[in-house]
């Protein structure tokens, strides 16, 4: 099984430059600099059907073509290592165990788009990872992979790490840019998109850590080879952060299109052999799906979309039959309520409203009309906000209420939890 990103990384001692080079690292960069044109690089990435690993799954090669070609002045590439989506913990492992894959990917991306400077925006609470990235960049600089006239070519590129401050919203790409600029992390209205008006008003492309880290492999082995690992329109392998009621939670890099059932098996199956109740397949912002549907679904963008959710960031949250869906949704709603930047009305006012209703239901004060109100409010938030956090707050609510309505109704009529007995059983 080909692992594009973590192949050959099996522990603490794989992150140094020498280890990376031993795995064939920076060969892709050499290949690029010894004769490829920027357009050829972009064509390879397009062929690979690599899609953004940050959540939206936007085709990466296509995104790179949005950067203006004959622009006079600085252009930027920015890596989104903010990784704040609940359930997601893959990017920090890439930074921890294979940082040079990211660095090499960013250099190649910069070459392809004519960028002169890059920033790697790292999640606020992971200090040691930040320090490691600093060391890795220093190694790359010393070895001539970063800086002026890289490997003797006419191409120059500088890369910097930027340590965030721990706000989920700073993972939204334009809030991230504001944050790098030293401002309050608040999303910008788009258009203009970052490719026209990005960091410091300059053309900028933002990609996720895993997206960039996939690029060296694509260049080295060709876009077609990458595509063939996965499925048409869903190229490559992908890291899934499996958490919840499984025996071996962790990151698993598998080919796109791997059946969920296989992934669950790799993660050691359900804890205590309990029945699977529900799965959020793509990070907390994505709709939840009942377990039986997931068991029939493959792990790629298109299959999950068909099943009614999204692959998102690849965080797979598995819930067994002891899970109270009302309590679960209350916790999620609290998160989005807390993390809303507060800029736009539907999200600022709506997330708090949603949370308060769900909180009431969870605490035995629900009213039957609350359920339709929740759905209506979700409709009124989704698609009406400046950034996708509004959608992220609404989608879980709608899916939880739709798929598990009976459980919500039980809470309202009996003023207690449907799975309460299961809870106490577990406690005993």
């Amino acid at each position: 099984m080909t692992q594009v990103i973590m192949g050959g990384c099996d522990g603490e001692n794989t992150w140094r430059l020498k280890d990376y080079v031993a795995r064939g690292g920076y060969e892709a960069l050499r290949k690029v600099l010894s004769g490829m044109t920027p357009d050829q690089v972009i064509t390879e990435v397009k062929t690979s059907a690599l899609r953004g690993r940050g959540g939206a799954g936007f085709p990466t090669g296509l995104k790179w073509t949005f950067m203006p070609k004959n622009y006079v002045g600085d252009k930027y590439v920015v890596c989104n290592s903010d990784e704040g989506e609940p359930g997601t913990f893959k990017d920090r492992d890439i930074l921890r165990y294979n940082p040079h894959a990211l660095i090499e990917g960013m250099i190649i991306a910069a070459f392809a788009m004519g960028a002169t400077r890059g920033y790697n925006y790292i999640h606020g609470e992971i200090w040691s990872v930040y320090e490691r990235c600093e060391e890795a960049i220093e190694e790359a600089r010393s070895a001539g992979f970063l800086g002026n006239n890289i490997l003797g070519s006419s191409f120059s590129f500088n890369l910097y790490n930027h340590h965030g401050y721990g706000a989920y919203i700073c993972g939204e790409e334009t809030a991230l840019l504001e944050s790098i600029e030293g401002k309050k992390g608040q999303p910008r209205y788009k258009p203009p998109f970052p490719a026209t008006y990005g960091l410091y008003g300059k053309p900028t492309t933002i990609n996720n850590t895993e997206t960039f880290a996939s690029v060296p492999w694509i260049i080295q082995h060709g876009g077609q080879a990458f595509l063939e690992i996965g499925r048409p329109n869903n190229g490559g392998s992908k890291m899934f952060s499996v958490s919840g009621h499984v025996n071996k939670p962790g990151n698993y890099e598998v080919p796109m299109g791997t059946p969920f059932a296989t992934l669950l098996e790799m993660a050691g199956g359900m804890r205590d052999g309990r029945a699977i109740k529900a799965v959020i397949p793509g990070g907390s912002s994505m709709p939840v799906l009942p377990g039986h549907i997931m068991m029939q679904t493959d792990m790629d963008y298109d299959s999950i979309a068909k099943a009614g959710s999204m692959l998102g960031s690849g965080a797979v949250i598995v819930m067994d039959d002891t899970t109270c869906m009302v309590g679960m949704l209350e916790r999620l709603a609290w998160f989005y309520h807390e993390e809303s930047c507060g800029q736009c009305t539907p999200c600022r006012e709506g997330t708090g409203w949603l949370y308060r209703i769900i909180h009431r239901i969870e605490h035995g004060q629900g009213r039957m009309e609350d359920l339709d109100l929740l759905l209506s409010l979700s409709d009124n938030i989704q698609g009406r906000t400046i950034c996708a956090l509004g959608d992220a707050a609404a989608m879980p609510v709608r899916s939880f209420v739709n798929h598990f309505r009976a459980e919500f109704e039980h809470h309202i009529t009996h003023k207690r939890c449907l799975v309460g007995s299961a809870h106490s059983e577990k406690a005993a």
Partner: protein, 793 residues
């Protein structure tokens, strides 16, 4: 620019590319509900009230932020759009208090208006509402922060229009709130505009608070009376008797939708307890109330007697440049008909050398609306934000469009915008500094400076002077302006002459920043000694300074507080007190009993009809908004009756229209033809070395421009109004062994002022900023002289 075809609600129009759906709708007269959008501010797109349906778009889009595209079809009132708008309205109201009955915004609240159209009947919100603590933003702006809908208009106003971000959004999500910086108030000279911008009752006028409901007020168009811009205002009146509030009237050629705090809050002075409501005369050394007939007869008799005994030459008049055209015209007519040309409104000026060589009326030189198109400008001697708050706003726009601002000033000024070059020196150095720029410009353009100015060309240009010269030469659309500090300068004629030469070489417009509401109108009306109305030249009379240094036997003083408004208060008081007879026409009692013989209560601008001609030559007439208080009468009526009592011919005016008609049947054309900044010849130059230390930099504080502003308690309580200090730099402070914050005695001539010392390295060595026009410095004399400083406990 490419034009795009776009259809809104079935109507088609064309907009330039880069314009938004909102622009297209506005062009078609289609109203889209909105809160955060404001045509003068950047787009925030945060309220989401303007959501509309766009064909083929998968979701409703905000009209204010969606760029128009070719062939776009928009529905602003379809069911789909209205549902989206209603949903936003519901979200806006969930945490909004239902305190409309006690809210000052009631009746003029965008949220209230729109909730009538878009709000639901009963709320689906059953949770607890959020409460946000109020903030103390100073004496001008009251807050009810629970009402805030976080549209950030007030924040963007600070960043973009006022140039200082005094308000920001603190916190996040539902905890977001509008805040000033820790322990700071909102202190900008145009802060009150945030009140107008706030679509709800979160920011309201503190002086106006709870004093009236908006629907009780009648509206009266008028003109701002405190600077040369001629801001269009609405005076709001309760029960036809009391001015309750002044708001801007939109005029994109003048003040746009903005108003300076000075013009907005000065109205408080109209209702001051210091208002004169009855004529006062002196009987046996005591002031007693009198009838108009008695008082005016005393004046007429006194003037006649002095004229008969001493000759008309013994009569003089000092008049306020904030008086109306009609008042100024009648005042000079009266003086001239009595046989005297000693009349002047330029009471702060000290150099009148231009009078001999200037035939036309000095003006701004470039219409205000064209300022934002400047690519470079040089402003000489101006604390611009205090003198011309809204011209500074225009310049900020020019800077956003890429303009370079250059300054020559007696201190480093903070314009709240990027300044390319600032050339700073003590007052006596300013002509030399300006001459350096002239020299550098001449060199760059390869022309020789006229022989008359050669005596000034002694220094090689400094790097900064060179920078200014390059900025002017390299930007064809540049202009030069002389501010109030220049106009009050003891070598104003010299500064002016150098500016004329610079403008000639650069082929650039140049002008003067009119100090008062009617600085241009006063010259046109003939309220100057060297030029009668219509430009007739008589044997020149005495100017404002000469009238005091060669005192007259009788004076007419109109609208002035000479102890504060004259360039040399000590000299002014001495002359007035030494005169046989002084008649004061004043709205306020103030110090008039100390120097007047008869005090006549006259109406301020809100209580009379009249005309101001702005510094750009805009003729703007207005009507009274309320009847004069008590026995006060419009000054033009008082002067007319006085003319009759003096048995002069031609004082039978029925209205201000009659007075204007006598001056000209086409005042606009007359004004247009009379404006001109060129000189017939070079004036006598003043070239001199330092005055000696410590040179006084005498600037008029922003809220000390005139009697009315001085009587607005809120303006006086604001930080700008309440900060009165002497400023020197740290080098001088250490030589004098003085510390920042300590009390000092400032001495000048016989006078002493007790002030707090602020050490500020923006002030050049060897000089001290000591404000003029302020009661605390009224004991001092020449605004341009030297002072000494000593520590005081």
């Amino acid at each position: 620019m490419a034009l795009l075809n776009i259809e809104v609600d079935g109507q088609t129009t064309q907009v330039e590319s880069g314009r938004t759906v909102m622009d297209a709708a506005r062009q078609l007269g289609i109203k889209i509900p909105h809160f955060c959008y404001h045509r003068k501010l950047s787009i925030a797109a945060n309220c989401r009230m303007c959501l509309v349906q766009v064909e083929k778009a998968p979701k409703p889009l905000p009209a204010c932020a969606t760029p128009a595209a070719e062939g776009m079809k928009v529905s602003t009132h379809s069911e789909y759009a209205v549902n989206a708008q209603k949903a936003v309205m519901e979200f806006l109201l969930v945490n909004h208090p239902l305190d409309c009955p006690i809210c000052d915004q009631g009746g003029e609240c965008k949220l209230q208006d729109m909730s009538v159209g878009y709000g639901g009947g009963a709320s689906r919100f059953k949770e607890e509402k959020r409460v946000v603590a109020n903030k103390d933003l100073g004496p001008l702006i009251a807050t009810d922060m629970t009402r805030c809908i976080l549209c950030t208009r007030c924040v963007r106003f600070g960043q973009e229009i006022a140039g200082i971000m005094e308000l920001g959004v603190g916190g996040r999500g539902e905890h977001s709130e509008i805040l000033a910086f820790v322990d700071q108030t909102v202190d900008s000279e145009i802060s009150g505009n945030a009140i107008d911008l706030c679509p709800v009752g979160a920011l309201t006028s503190k002086p106006f608070r709870y004093s009236a409901r908006s629907w009780e007020l009648t509206q009266h168009d008028s003109i701002g009376a405190h600077d040369g811009l001629g801001s269009n205002v609405v005076v709001q009146v309760k029960q036809n008797t009391k001015v309750m509030r002044v708001l801007p009237n939109n005029n994109d050629d003048v003040n746009e939708c903005w108003l300076s705090d000075r013009d907005r809050f000065s109205y408080e002075g109209l209702n001051s307890a210091d208002r004169l409501t009855t004529p006062l005369i002196k009987e046996n050394g005591q002031w007693v109330e009198a009838t108009w007939v008695e008082a005016l007869q005393i004046v007429a008799d006194a003037f006649n007697k002095i004229k008969d005994v001493q000759g008309a030459d013994a009569l003089g008049a000092l008049v306020s440049p904030n008086s109306t055209l009609e008042e100024l015209y009648l005042a000079q007519k009266l003086l001239r008909d009595l046989g005297s040309h000693h009349i002047d409104h330029r009471v702060r000026q000290s150099d009148f050398s231009l009078d001999a060589v200037q035939t036309n009326i000095p003006w701004l030189g470039l219409p205000v609306a064209q300022w934002p198109e400047l690519k470079s400008c040089l402003i000489i001697g101006s604390s611009l934000r205090a003198e011309q708050p809204l011209l500074a706003v225009r310049l900020r726009e020019a800077v956003r469009n890429g303009a370079q601002i250059n300054l020559i000033n007696p201190f480093v000024d903070d314009l709240a915008m990027p300044v390319a070059h600032q050339l700073v020196g003590t007052p006596s150095q300013l002509p030399g500094l300006l001459a350096e720029v002239l020299q550098a410009v001449a060199a760059l353009q390869n022309v020789t400076v006229s022989a008359a100015l050669q005596p000034l060309m002694s220094h090689a240009p400094s790097a900064v002077a060179q920078g200014i010269a390059e900025s002017l030469v390299n930007n064809s659309s540049c202009a030069l302006f002389l501010g109030c500090l220049a106009q009050h300068h003891e070598a104003y004629g010299t500064l002016y002459a150098v500016t004329v030469e610079l403008a000639r070489i650069l082929k650039a417009p140049f002008g003067v920043l009119g100090e008062a509401a009617n600085s241009v109108g006063a010259v046109l009306a003939g309220a100057v000694p060297h030029r009668g109305p219509l430009g007739t030249h008589n044997a020149p009379g005495l100017d404002a300074q000469a009238m005091l240094s060669s005192p007259r036997k009788a004076y007419l003083v109109m609208g002035l507080e000479p102890e504060l408004d004259c360039a040399n208060p000590a000299a002014a008081l001495a002359a007035l007190k030494g005169a046989d007879f002084v008649v004061a026409l004043s709205a306020f009692r103030g110090q008039t009993p100390n120097w007047a013989s008869v005090i006549l209560p006259v109406a301020p601008f809100t209580e009379t009809a009249g005309t101001f001609i702005s510094m750009e030559g805009r003729v703007q007439s207005f009507k009274g908004a309320v009847a004069p208080q008590g026995q006060a009468r419009p000054a033009w009526k008082v002067l007319r009756v006085l003319g009759n009592l003096l048995e002069l011919q031609g004082y039978d005016f029925e209205s201000v229209d009659d007075i204007r008609a006598e001056l000209s049947h086409d005042l606009k054309a007359l004004t247009k033809n009379s404006l001109g900044n060129e000189l017939a010849a070079a004036p006598a130059l003043k070239v001199r070395a330092s005055l000696g230390t410590i040179e006084r930099i005498g600037e008029v504080p922003v809220y000390q421009t005139d009697a009315l502003v001085r009587r607005s308690p809120s303006l006086q309580a604001s930080r700008l109004g309440s900060t009165v200090e002497v400023q020197i730099n740290s080098a001088l402070a250490s030589r004098l062994n003085l510390k920042c914050g300590q009390n000092v005695r400032v001495r000048q001539g016989q006078g002493v002022a007790h002030l707090v010392l602020r050490v500020n390295d923006a002030v050049p060595d060897g000089s001290a900023r000591v404000p003029v026009g302020h009661p605390l410095t009224a004991q001092l004399n020449d605004a341009n002289g030297v002072v000494s400083l000593e520590g005081a406990s």
